[in-house]
């Protein structure tokens, strides 16, 4: 089992969702706790302990279930929201902001999906067409074969075409969703980087080739696909290596089934950057030519950002993807 210990809130131990996870994990032992917040993040658990002692907490999410996304977060001018159904991720990307965002790397899975869906309904009724994103605080598909929550959401999005769903992932775990009928308003988006950066920085994630195979499978089944080239990490050969991945992508993903491609260069808040340097002092990610940029974040200089983004955007246009489907994520 990938988890060292499992902790379950007493109130949800009989919940179908909880039982389903335990069954999928073939877990026979767990410890009952009162409330997750009395333990998880209560003390600072070092991020890299996820390598050896990753724990799982199951409980009910209190407080905000859906939050408004920041400016330049998503494609199109429609309002964007992200919803919180889990915290943390089984992968270990060296640039991941979760290492400085939460005080514990332990995974939390929330059980109150019905509450999230009710709130989605209220928001859609109020604002009209809008986007809901999964994967802000966790990978939306990595554990989906255990959690199996997406059929619930599918029903809502089938009946509410104004609401759009993005499932953001770095995994190739499409078992749970490939059984579902593709919907026009549901888009599965894959974060990709060139093979060199993926190997260096995306630890424990499926190789790029495996992710491409998963994309092809979903394309063949009729799903709408989005791509995130984000974060792009500079190295002297980046143009060559990104062209290689774009060439592979154009062979399997026709523009007709592409929802959008987002481009973003690596960036950190100061706190996250300090954590990255602490966790990966010998990694190339900790020694990039960064500066403190216009919004206080740690990034490449503006000329380098512009050069990288413009050149990769041009590669995508040369590969016959429509320019209007390409957007720059979190850039002014």
């Amino acid at each position: 089992m990938i988890f060292k210990n499992i902790y379950i809130e007493s109130d949800v131990k009989e919940h179908d969702f909880t039982k389903n996870i335990l069954r999928s994990l073939k877990a026979t032992e767990y410890q009952e706790i009162d409330k997750i917040e009395n333990y998880w993040g209560k003390v600072k658990k070092p991020y890299l302990q996820k390598r050896d002692t990753l724990n799982l907490f199951i409980g009910e999410k209190k407080g905000a279930l859906i939050k408004k996304a920041p400016h330049a977060y998503g494609f199109s001018s429609e309002p964007h929201y992200y919803f919180i159904h889990a915290y943390n991720c089984i992968y270990e990307c060296q640039y991941c902001y979760l290492q400085g965002y939460f005080n514990s790397p332990d995974i939390v899975l929330f059980t109150n999906h019905h509450d999230i869906i009710n709130q989605m309904k209220n928001i859609t009724d109020e604002v009209g067409p809008c986007w809901f994103h999964a994967g802000e605080y966790s990978d939306s598909l990595a554990l989906s074969h255990l959690t199996n929550e997406w059929p619930l959401y599918w029903k809502f999005f089938e009946n509410n075409p104004d609401a759009k769903l993005e499932l953001r992932t770095k995994s190739s775990n499409i078992k749970a969703i490939e059984k579902l009928t593709p919907l026009e308003n549901v888009c599965v988006t894959f974060s990709l980087s060139d093979a060199k950066n993926a190997k260096n920085f995306d630890l424990k994630t499926p190789p790029i080739e495996t992710r491409l195979k998963a994309i092809k499978k979903l394309v063949d089944s009729g799903f709408r696909i989005g791509i995130h080239y984000d974060p792009i990490v500079y190295h002297p050969d980046y143009l060559k290596t990104y062209k290689e991945i774009t060439d592979k992508l154009k062979d399997i993903l026709p523009d007709g089934q592409l929802s959008y491609i987002s481009l973003g260069v690596v960036r950190f808040t100061k706190e996250v950057y300090n954590q990255v340097k602490q966790n990966y002092p010998q990694s190339k990610i900790s020694h990039q030519p960064f500066i403190k940029s216009f919004d206080g974040k740690v990034r490449y200089t503006r000329p380098l950002r512009s050069k990288i983004l413009n050149e990769i955007k041009q590669q995508l246009i040369d590969a016959q993807y429509l320019p209007e489907k390409i957007y720059l994520c979190m850039e002014d």
């Binding site: 410890q31 003390v43 070092p46 390598r51 900790s286 020694h287 030519p289 403190k292 503006r302 050069k307």
Partner: protein, 335 residues
Amino acid sequence: MQLLVFAHRAEAQIFLKKLPYRWVSTPFGGYYQGDHTAILLTGEGLQNATESLSSLLSFLGDQISEVINLGVCGALDESIPPNTIYSLRTAYCENEFKSFSTDQGKEALDCFSARQRITHKMDKKRLSVFAPLVDREVWAIGSVCKRFQKSWRAYKIVSDIAATETMCGEIYQDAAFYSQELYQFYEKNVSQWVSTQVAGSREKLPDKLEKQGFYFTFSQRNLLKNLFEKYSILNDVSEKKFLDSRLVQELKKQKIKPKLKSEKLLHALYAELFPLQQEIVEKLEQIKNNLKKENIHFEYDRTLESPLVNFQIDVSQPTTLTSVPLQEIQKQLGG
């Protein structure tokens, strides 16, 4: 000198018998000094450990190279066998957000420092979510070592399962056994580690370069350290390979002052690390010099982050704004 920290004298008794320590009178508790190691007895609990260790490190900080905490702990996880010695990975504490970690890997266990002895099963169950071991001092030792920038480790022998029937007196009776076990473990695993650490210390890069005709000021030494660290990691270049590189060898041969050699080396390293930035700055500097001839003063953000530039023009002098290459400046700042 390596400092061995114990809470109780009983835990340290075999160390004090076997090694040639002498008691030193200090205002901060039991302190015993040997040739290469010293022992501090702090007394039980977080407060005692904090006070004793921080006083000692304020007093003798430069002499202490590493702090090793040794002692007895309880198990919160019932599957942990008694009388086993564990190295500790991370120390947590009740009502304290911060945690302190040693450099020990996955074979090590985490430990929770409790403010009181754990006598109730409910407390044991609650704390077991945080760590499998419990003691009374290690968090304080980690905290003080972090403040004093000392490397530290901790090794604990498990005496019993917390909140069981075991009485303190029973543990005290077995103290000689625990101390003996800790001593044997220390002799076998810990003292050898220290000797390899000492053997590993070596000459620094600026010193090596200075032997080859370079000269670095204090700030240049720091700059070299930062640039070379980036350069070596980004380009997978070892220190030896760098010293043998054409860049260093050619600079070494040049008949210029040592300080100028160092400046050229730092400049070359910077250009290697930030080629685009270097190229843009050189072009903007060229534009700046050309504009100066036209009595136009041009300034830009040296980090290249801001797209705002400033021009100062003396209107009393005959000049023309058409000589300002705005498009070229925009192109450069746009990468």
